[in-house]
């Protein structure tokens, strides 16, 4: 593999452009195609985010698909977030933390993480959640959680989760209905967020949320 190809893949990743490195397994010849240039089986592989062998002009090729990394936007720079952010990073996600309360979203509490102190709706609008983005609200404060959820519900985020008890969630559902969202739309929100694994500590709750989000990403049905 030529260094120039590795550099080109890196440049495409920086621009969040889906691409594939295509290797002719017989000759060893390699080239890069993007979602814009790819056709047929290669275009399908890129869209499905699935590396694998494909047939091009009767020859066996391997497509190494490179999509922009999945992302988690966490609203609330709280104790759970201090566990969730590094775990999500380890699992391969880009992490962005949103919390307008200055004392929470500090680089001291979250070293090396993208932090936004904008109001959650502005922050989410700027971050543009796409099909490779999950949004999770952890503040427990409707003033902060609701604006984020409203933007998330209007996006194609693959996972939306909101922390809080069943009672809190019922109240949240009622408020979102007042904003004009239908039951089907609101049902996209995993609330209370996280798989029921008996999580107690902030780190355990982070595990339950990350597990649920992983299942959503791979479209694996789980008990809520």
């Amino acid at each position: 593999m030529k260094l120039a190809l590795i550099e080109e893949l890196a440049a495409l990743a920086t621009r969040r452009q889906p691409a594939a490195l295509v290797t002719d397994l017989t000759s060893g010849a390699q080239r890069i195609e993007t979602a814009a240039t790819a056709t047929g089986a290669l275009a399908e592989a890129i869209a499905a985010d699935k590396s694998g062998e494909i047939d091009i002009d009767g020859r066996k090729h391997f497509a190494l698909v490179r999509n922009p990394p999945p992302r988690i936007i966490i609203v609330g720079a709280v104790h759970i977030t201090q566990g969730l952010a590094p775990m999500a990073t380890l699992a391969g996600y880009d992490v962005a933390i949103v919390d307008p309360r200055g004392a929470f979203a500090t680089s001291e509490r979250f070293p090396g993480t993208t932090l936004s102190q904008d109001w959650p709706d502005d922050a989410l609008t700027a971050l543009q959640p796409d099909t490779r983005t999950a949004v999770i609200t952890l503040t427990h404060d409707p003033k902060l959680d609701d604006p984020a959820l409203i933007v998330a519900l209007r996006s194609s985020a693959f996972y939306i989760g909101a922390l809080g008890s069943k009672k809190t969630h019922a109240a949240r559902v009622a408020r979102l209905k007042e904003h004009g969202f239908g039951e089907g739309e609101i049902a996209r929100i995993h609330g209370p967020a996280g798989l029921d694994i008996g999580a107690k500590s902030p780190a355990e709750i982070a595990i339950s949320v990350l597990a649920q989000l992983t299942a959503a990403r791979h479209q694996k049905p789980t008990a809520r």
Binding site: M1, K2, L3, I6, E7, L9, A10, A13, T23, L25, G28, K50, S51, G52, E53, F62, L64, V65, R66, P69, L90, G92
Partner: protein
């Protein structure tokens, strides 16, 4: 140290720029149960330093040996591993799966 698959090629490029010989191993196909899916990668340099994985640790040793030869001759190879392999006990897959790995040198 763990690394995202997305970062491995960059690290391989860094090692190469630092003057090391580097090979990249990529899982191209799997059959049956296999812990790492197609597209999973491992990088290895001349000193045997390695990062990433192509199986659950079953065949990495054999891949490193092949990678050394490929660093010498520059010819990429497609390696087959599976329980039907002659060397099953040595480099076979305990899980009973089969996989194919493409190994190439960074140029």
């Amino acid at each position: 140290m763990t690394s995202r698959d997305e970062d491995l090629l960059q690290i391989a490029a860094d090692w190469k720029r630092a003057g090391n010989d580097v090979a990249i191993a990529t899982v191209t196909a799997t059959w049956g149960s296999s812990p790492r899916q197609a597209g999973s990668q491992m990088i290895v340099d001349r000193d045997g330093r390695m990062l990433g994985s192509v199986s659950g640790g079953c065949v990495e040793g054999a891949v490193v040996r092949e990678a050394m030869e490929i660093m010498d001759d520059g010819k990429p190879r497609l390696l087959d591993f599976g329980i039907t392999n002659e060397q099953a006990w040595e480099v076979g897959l305990a899980c009973g799966g089969k996989l194919q790995i493409y190994v190439e040198r960074v140029e």
